[in-house]
Amino acid sequence: MSTISTVKKEVPVDAPRAELESAVVRFAGDSGDGMQLTGGQFTLATALAGNDLATFPDFPAEIRAPAGTTFGVSSFQINFGSHGIKTSGDSFDLLVAMNPAALKVELKGLKQSGIILADTGSFSDRNLRKAGYDGNPLEDGSLDAYRVIALDISQLTLDSVKEHGLSNKEALRCKNLWTLGFIYWMFGRKRKATTDWLETKFAKRPELAAANVAALNAGHAVAETSEILDGFQGFAIPQATISPGQYRAVTGAEAMAWGLTAGCQLAELQMVFCSYPITPASSVLHTLSTMAAFGVTTFQAEDEIAAACAAIGASYAGGMGITSSSGPGVALKGEALGLAISTELPLVVLNSQRAGPSTGMPTKTEQSDLYQSVYGRNADSPVCVLAARSPADCFDVGIEAVRIATKFMTPVIVLTDGYIGNAAEPWLIPDVAEMRKFPVNFEAETEDFHPFKRDPETLARSWAVPGVAGLEHRIGGIEKDYDSGHISYDPANHQKMTDARFAKIKGIADDTPPQKVDNGPEIGKMAIVGWGSSYGPISRAVDNLLAEGLEVSHIHIRNIWPLPKNLGGLLSGFDQVVVPEMNNGQMLTVLRSEYLVDAQGINKVTGQPFTIAELEEGVRARLGG
């Protein structure tokens, strides 16, 4: 079922609400408290209210952590406001703590004098002990620096759904909706989208739908009618200026799956997506597994190597072979990647980066596979590397990866990360039918055919697919003769083939857009060069610093390899080049080595994205105060 709502322009509200430019809310509770779902509904209501927004779910690594423990806390953060929202927010204005463990884990992220909404019903001695509290923080004065709304949400929920005849357990499950209703009032959100959703979701159990709607309304009514904080009349957040059109919320994993599918449709190829489950990359496999009707074949291989090899087999047979993993899995695919480079077959390798080395912190984010992508193979084996900068950007990068892979007959590595994959943002839905197609031309000419016949312009070899009489040929990982495609150990030929592979990849830069300056002057004091998912915080930090009157510019690189042709020249126009990265300085090394530029890094390897504040601080320090 599709639901289309319309964002109405500026509905005046009578209540003297406090106007905020933006706000950050973090919903935190036990894994079973339904926080992701609550966050998702709040996101929708916020989008319908006309705010810009960004969200990030933060859930435990454990599949079913014991109830009430700190490692079982599941959180959802949303930043929304009237200006361009680029990140899910550094710290939050409102913390919803459904139990003591949630308070314990999340309190450090709450702003000074921020608001806590806590369910006292779950602050039992037992739960407090499980969370590691000696006393009850709601009562011992330790939260005096904050504004605390302590309500027995559990009991209030039970009261509100009494008439619907649910079991105690089922009734208590409605408390996230009660809380949501309460928060809706605080920010002046409408309930209709959520009640519609509940009625669809529980169409077969109308009593559950009715109870949840009752809980939602009760929470809303309590917030509206009681003096919840001294003089507090709720918040109002003006609408953002948003381009007109049809929107949806999209996660990076969804956008990547759809982008790759769109890319294959534009190339007029069957997609063969071969993967082995790994966090945080699996969600792309899950999305694509539902898309068989869109020309998508998915294959869950026995391991990472088999996944890469099956994708190569798919491309050999005339499909678009795609394989997906995270850093450790991509390491296993390395040899296969070499085969795709040597046989010059199109291949897309998606790497949802995570914190490492080794198993590292699978659910935490990092940008530390840049070396692996650009350099991480035996021998001289260049490939194309692209990086997506936001959830919605994954769609465009997915298309571009397929375009380059097929046009240049090369593997393309696409870098995203755990943050982009799970985070969501509003997306102006593109019209795929209007996009420029780039259909693949398989080799058809049998005269003078050999498999390494190259396009003089792109240097791509011809793609001859089994099934065509007269084009039978043999290829493999052994070096080929430049002029016949046969096995060759000739020294001069190996030099020529190595040079050809290198020149082909370098030539991709002639076919991709020049690097733009995202924000700030094109020549100036400091270029802040980012790539990948740090786009949000860098972008906001640079906005703020420019507003302060500091002379900084933001350059954000999508084409990691080959780098944009004009990038060296662009960087030479700045006194300083600063490279913030969630690694120990990998793009930094690449830029220093490529351009002999004295770039400096701002590096963070904690498994957490940059905050805007720490970037501003880092930049100020390098600007000399």
Partner: protein, 343 residues
């Protein structure tokens, strides 16, 4: 009356490529190559529809010597690449050529899953019980005690039986041949080809340089008749120079034993009839190793079931039928969307 000119049938030599064959003189691979070329001619294989995929090793050079499509890939991964080819274009006729190291050491996992999934390919395992291309180290099929450059005092690990491995992985077609049996080998390949699903064929192949004569205890001319049993579906399992031996299920055991026909009142009626579809029998035949029983040659087991590709195509058809839309644009607009109006 219209006369339709029948296209000239291809001969074995038509399946040879223009590349010079570079195996050691006397290598068993030459004989297998000839047998494959003959089998391709016998079955009337279309060159353009045929793909030979290999990994790494002496055997892996095979695709270069055929005039079909060929893909010489990386060590142990031919099954994975072949699987990718088949799920993309199930119409292609895919053969995998591999050795004992390629398929049972570095690529053991992929072979297991190729068989388990029942991908419709022919898998030819050239077993010479040694690493040839890397100059003579012992392999996973080498017998315990094999002396090699990496095991100068003899190897400790016990060998794996390729056919028992394939059975364990769920193979629905298992056959065995010997490089030197030029007459019968093409027929074994033709049977493998006719079978829908993963067809597993082990070929004992003599490595003249590093393991010469390792199979001589059942391949030397003077012992062939008494040390090999050539299986035929529906026929009693009789062997020997004068058809004097037969196999029967040992009393109180689940194993085959050799009996002499005409002795102790044993007649041909006591001999077990080979039933290719009997999985337990296949296990017993696979287990026949060592000095007291003959080596089973021919089709040990053949009991087809739906191939992986058929399963995948079935899923695809179901998905297309169930799909509420086939239009990506429509999919992107499903679920909850909102429209921002012009200010």
């Amino acid at each position: 009356m219209n006369v339709v000119a029948k296209p000239e049938a291809l001969k074995p030599k038509d399946y040879a490529s223009d590349q010079e064959v570079r195996w050691c003189p006397g290598c068993g691979d030459y004989a297998i190559l000839r047998a494959v070329q003959k089998a391709l001619a016998d079955i009337g294989a279309k060159k353009e529809k045929t793909v030979f995929v290999s990994g790494i090793g002496c055997a892996a050079r095979f695709p270069y010597y055929l005039s079909t499509y060929g893909f010489h890939t990386i060590h142990g991964r031919a099954p994975s690449i072949a699987t990718g080819i088949k799920i993309t274009n199930p119409e292609l006729d895919v053969w995998i050529v591999s050795g004992d190291g390629d398929s049972l050491s570095i690529g053991g996992n992929h072979l297991l899953h190729l068989i388990r999934r029942n991908v419709d390919v022919q898998f030819l395992l050239f077993n010479n019980e040694i690493y040839g291309l890397t100059k003579g180290q012992y392999s996973p099929t080498s017998r315990a005690g094999t002396r090699s450059p990496s095991t100068p005092l003899g190897s400790v690990d016990k060998p794996i039986s390729p056919v028992a491995f394939a059975l364990g992985a769920g193979a629905r077609f298992i056959a065995r041949g010997i490089d030197s049996m030029q007459k019968k080998l093409p027929d074994v390949f033709a049977r493998a080809h006719a079978h829908k699903g993963a067809s597993f064929v082990e070929i004992y192949q003599n490595c003249i340089v590093y393991n010469d004569g390792v199979f001589s205890n059942f391949t030397e001319k003077d012992v062939v008749a008494n040390r090999q049993i050539h299986l035929e579906h529906g026929k009693p399992m009789i062997f020997g120079a004068e058809n004097q031996f037969g196999l029967r299920v040992a009393d109180g055991k689940l194993a085959l034993e050799v009996v002499s026909i005409g002795e102790d009142g044993i007649t041909e009626d006591d001999i077990v009839v080979h039933d290719e579809t009997d999985r337990i029998m296949a296990h017993m035949l696979a287990e026949m190793q060592g000095a007291d029983r003959p080596v089973a040659i021919g089709v040990l087991y053949c009991d087809p079931m739906a191939s992986y590709e058929e399963g995948m195509q079935g899923l695809q058809a179901r998905a297309e039928k169930q799909a509420m839309t086939h239009d990506l644009n429509e999919l992107l607009r499903r679920g909850h969307t909102w429209t921002v109006e012009d200010a």
